[in-house]
Assembly symmetry: C2
Homo-oligomer: 338 residues x 2
């Protein structure tokens, strides 16, 4: 499938769905739409061999031929920005499907629904959960696999990345490893999953339990976490994932230097050691669990040596090995997890 | 409004909505429907002056004339039991409205919707949340009121009762006190509110924030909690309420003698002192909060002296004054809360 990815004004730092699909998806990306960076190319921002060097364009009219448009950004609250409308409209008029993972449902947008019908293409809201979810029975531990949950100190700290990179590292070691995708980017990459932040809160843990059971027996299952346990707005989602997945081990993801909750800057992040202890203490009554590794996003640090030092002090704080799975290797922490 | 309350096979111990409406609602209750206790009367089970002594009957056909049927029980999972169908059908055929707080939506039941239309009566699903909820902005603390949140060690430990009894006790002291109802029973009693366990998990904290803001400035606001922070299935709901309401004080509700999670008996409840510390530690990064009082449901203890002793040892465990607001007085713990 040839895709264009919409990431206006936010590529790449605040376009985590776009970057996730570029890095881990098996779609062929022909362009990124970002009107602020039109004329540049993807590799100028993300210099990784696995990432294709497609052009960045101002809108669908400048993109090479493609089969589907993916909305690759998600603002706080999951709304649809009016300024994206011409591109979605243009994609549908060209007969292309549109994928999005917003709270705003494209299928419920009158204009988009009409255009999709007219041009015989599909609107795919990957955040729309199944309607037969139920309460958790607290049986995720019965799966024959080491369940490892990637949690974070905040949103956008690399939980999805941790799960994807750890699966790859585990497979390279010859292990049978799987991922449970719990958010729109993971679902777009994997082609299945439930956006747990969109589930009814009574069923949030149950949705995660269902996915852990569905993915079934493996050597190791890496569950993508969401939100953060001390997040003022999203802790409900996180709580449901921690108790629903009943992990044996936790990987705590953090962005180097981040000291306050993104978008809620008056709320300080607890120190890493306290945050790790909070996750363990919260998990324990349902499923005893330990922070066994850390992932530190050091993309904001220019110097490799400084990045290594930041990782070392993070590892010391959480009392577990740590790495930056993008700058360095996820495999550095695999031994403590499997 | 004259109401009959459906509570088949579960009155009164496992019919908390029925008991809540009987105790705190301003509806005129003309009958309770419980086929196992037909021929008895309410006071044989609940001997409180404020509770009306209406008959218990086997079904709507035996009930005195009424205006609305309230479904007064809620099984784990919030489903609709087939054995309740004749009573709901019968109520609608008599031209009565039907109120329910189930996950199962009466309005989406074809037969009920048709009967309601035919007989010009209403199906009221009080658990149906507004469809314009958003993420929390973490601003509940800006309300000019002492916000007190009733939390629990499990479901059905008396959180709603605590909120209602504390409001009454505060008003008797001359304080301007309000309740924020977060569950179906509270909503049925108060005539407003949002069933937070039915909200999209990303918006759970936001729904609670909205209610705290809506109830506005008072001397003290008692927020009804839901679920429990160490509950394998419902912790997402609880997490959203704790962070969304940003309480200054917590009241920890517990049922004397309960040692395991109801319905999840392989999961032990953490000891009360650990549970109190878990709530505080979880709340702190968003809103510093202290367990300032305890409520112990001693209805399973026959002897008053033994009940007092149980309350004393519970108070010692959580290091805060405690009471049983039904058997004794909620006012016993009011001073530490307001």
């Amino acid at each position: 499938m040839r895709v264009a990815i919409l990431a206006h004004e936010q590529f790449p730092e605040r376009a985590k769905t776009a970057v996730g699909v570029l890095r881990y998806g098996d779609q062929e990306v022909v362009a990124v739409l970002d009107r602020d960076r039109a004329g540049d190319s993807i590799r100028e921002y993300l210099d990784e061999p696995r990432i294709p060097n497609a052009p960045i364009v101002a809108g669908v009219e400048d993109a090479p031929e493609f089969d589907a448009l993916i909305v690759g950004i998600a603002p706080i609250g999951g709304g649809f920005e009016a300024s994206w409308r011409p591109d979605v409209r243009g994609a549908l008029e060209r007969g292309c499907d549109v994928y999005a993972g917003l709270h705003y449902q494209l299928n419920e947008d009158e204009e988009f629904a009409r255009l999709a019908a007219e041009h015989d293409c599909e609107l795919v809201d990957v955040r729309d959960p199944p309607d037969d979810l139920t309460v958790s029975e607290a049986r995720a531990r019965e799966v024959d696999a080491t369940v490892v949950l990637a949690v974070g100190t905040d949103c956008s700290t690399g939980k999805m990345t941790a799960a994807m990179e750890l699966r790859e590292a585990a497979r390279e070691e010859g292990l049978d490893a799987a991922v449970v995708p719990t958010g729109q980017t993971g679902i777009l990459i994997e082609g299945w999953g439930i956006a747990v932040d969109r589930t009814i809160s009574d069923f949030t843990a149950g949705a995660v339990e269902r996915m852990v059971q569905a993915v079934g027996d493996h050597d190791v299952v890496f569950v993508e976490g969401q939100g953060a346990l001390a997040h003022p707005a999203y802790s409900a989602v996180t709580a449901g994932i921690v108790h629903g997945s009943m992990p044996e081990k936790l990987v705590l993801c953090h962005e180097a230097g981040r000291q306050a909750v993104h978008g809620y800057e008056s709320f300080s992040l607890p120190p890493a050691e306290e945050y790790a202890a909070l996750y363990e203490r919260f998990a324990d009554p349902v499923a005893e669990s330990a922070v066994a590794a850390g992932m530190l996003n050091t993309s904001g640090i220019d110097d490799d040596q400084q990045a290594r030092e930041a990782i070392e002090s993070y590892a010391e704080a959480i009392d577990a090995p740590a790495t930056d799975p993008i700058r360095f290797e996820a495999s550095a922490v695999l031994d403590t997890l499997v």
